[in-house]
Amino acid sequence: MEPSAVETSALGRRYGRRWALARVNLQVARGERLLIAGANGSGKSTLLRVLASLLAPSIGSARVFGHDVATEPSAVRARVALLTYTPGVYEDLSARENLRAQLRLLGRDDAPEALLERVGLELRDDPVRGYSAGMRKRLSFARLLMQRPDLALLDEPYGQLDPEGFKMVDGLVAELSQAGATVIMASHMVERAGALCDRGVLIDQGQVRWEGPGPQTARAWDAAHGGGR
């Protein structure tokens, strides 16, 4: 049997004396779209970073496509891409130069223009330093698509984007999914993201409080936070 895309068991992570994640048992099938909902500081980003092998678990274990994130990080990273609030680029280079530099590191020489077009960035040669937050987000998406991940971890994919951008994200998630990738996203837009996902998970103070069909995530949120969203 092929291992699941993600499998965590009793996973916990602490920063100093504070547990940011605890008792997380999560299983994500290949090709599944999972929404992780939760308030600020609930542990969503920590979970994504642990799955990306950037943070080691303090307790328990996490496996991505059967590879342990703590002991086989390079096997994990070969198949995972992470979208975070930092664009992960060089401020002095243009969008195109940034992508081209990273493509070269991957030993590929495909043109970055198609990627930039896909995320709705104009082909300009000015440095990223002058980009707006929304443009940076789009560039992050281009970087993620470039990696052709088997598992896409999206931390706040809708953040900083305009309604046009929301639609683009929906389209990109569908596209990734179509290509066979597993998608895990952490988002506050529970209604929109929930409708897009097969399954939803609600995290509260580092622990999973609810698991169910994606579209019901908004109701779970209301139940947990008294409707304030």
């Binding site: 004396r17 605890a22 169910g212």
Partner: protein
């Protein structure tokens, strides 16, 4: 009583015996006269300082390899004891250099290396003080300790070629035989004392690191949310 206290007492006793012999029993040094008697303090300090830095180096390799707190605590304690001995060594060197060479300081390779060694290892202590994340601090100080240790011979030889004036290395063979015994006794005394200091300092460092990075209990399991009318 903890084992290291016995070692420390033994060290004190040996140092006293060695220095008594060195000061009152052994004949004055042929070239330098009574001034030369500082060698019973100076040479053991130099040897033991290097041994302690070697311990720090081994601990750093262990800390990088295993990530265990005990090794990190040993890096902290050995570097600290090493720096104390190192500064002592510089002070003794200056005290000896003044009547012998007429100056407190010359650009002799061993003297220069000793000074650079002190600055390097003080750097480890400063670095440790500046980093608060335990894992990051352990890695950074281990890496830097390894570099500082490896650089000691490199610095020594480069400075030696740069400029040379010093006596050949003092070892029991080149020193007159009536001086050998007190020198050895004092050296072992110094070594035991250093072991005592390192052990005490290690216990302190280990306790501090453990408390700082103590894993708190997991929070109690949170209640699951149930949605009315179906759901999960």
């Amino acid at each position: 009583m903890k084992w290291e206290n016995w070692v420390g007492l033994l060290g004190l006793a040996l140092i006293s015996v060695g220095h008594y012999q060195g000061l009152f029993v052994a004949p004055p040094e042929a070239m330098m006269g009574d001034v030369g008697r500082i060698l019973y303090a100076h040479v053991p300090t130099a040897w033991v300082a290097l041994v302690v830095y070697l311990v720090a180096f081994v601990a750093a390799v262990g800390s990088l390899g295993s990530g265990k707190r005990g090794w990190d605590a040993l890096v902290e304690s050995a570097v600290e004891v090493g720096v104390v001995l190192n500064l002592l060594l510089l002070f003794q060197g200056a005290v000896w250099a003044k009547p012998t060479w007429g100056v407190f300081w010359t650009w002799d390779p061993r003297l220069t290396t000793t000074a650079i060694m002190a600055v390097s290892f003080i750097g480890v202590l400063v670095l440790r003080a500046m980093l608060n994340r335990p894992a990051q601090r352990a890695v950074a100080s281990a890496v830097y300790t390894i570099f500082a240790f490896v650089s000691v011979p490199v610095v020594y030889f480069s400075v030696k070629w740069w400029k040379t004036l010093h006596q050949p290395f003092s070892s029991p063979e080149t020193v007159d035989s009536p001086m050998v015994t007190p020198l050895r006794v004092a050296a072992f005394g110094m070594l035991f004392l250093a072991v005592f200091l390192m052990a005490r300092r290690w216990r302190l460092a280990y306790a501090k690191l453990s408390r700082e990075d103590e894993a708190p209990d997991l929070p109690p399991a949170a209640a699951a949310i149930r949605l009315e009318g179906g759901g999960a």
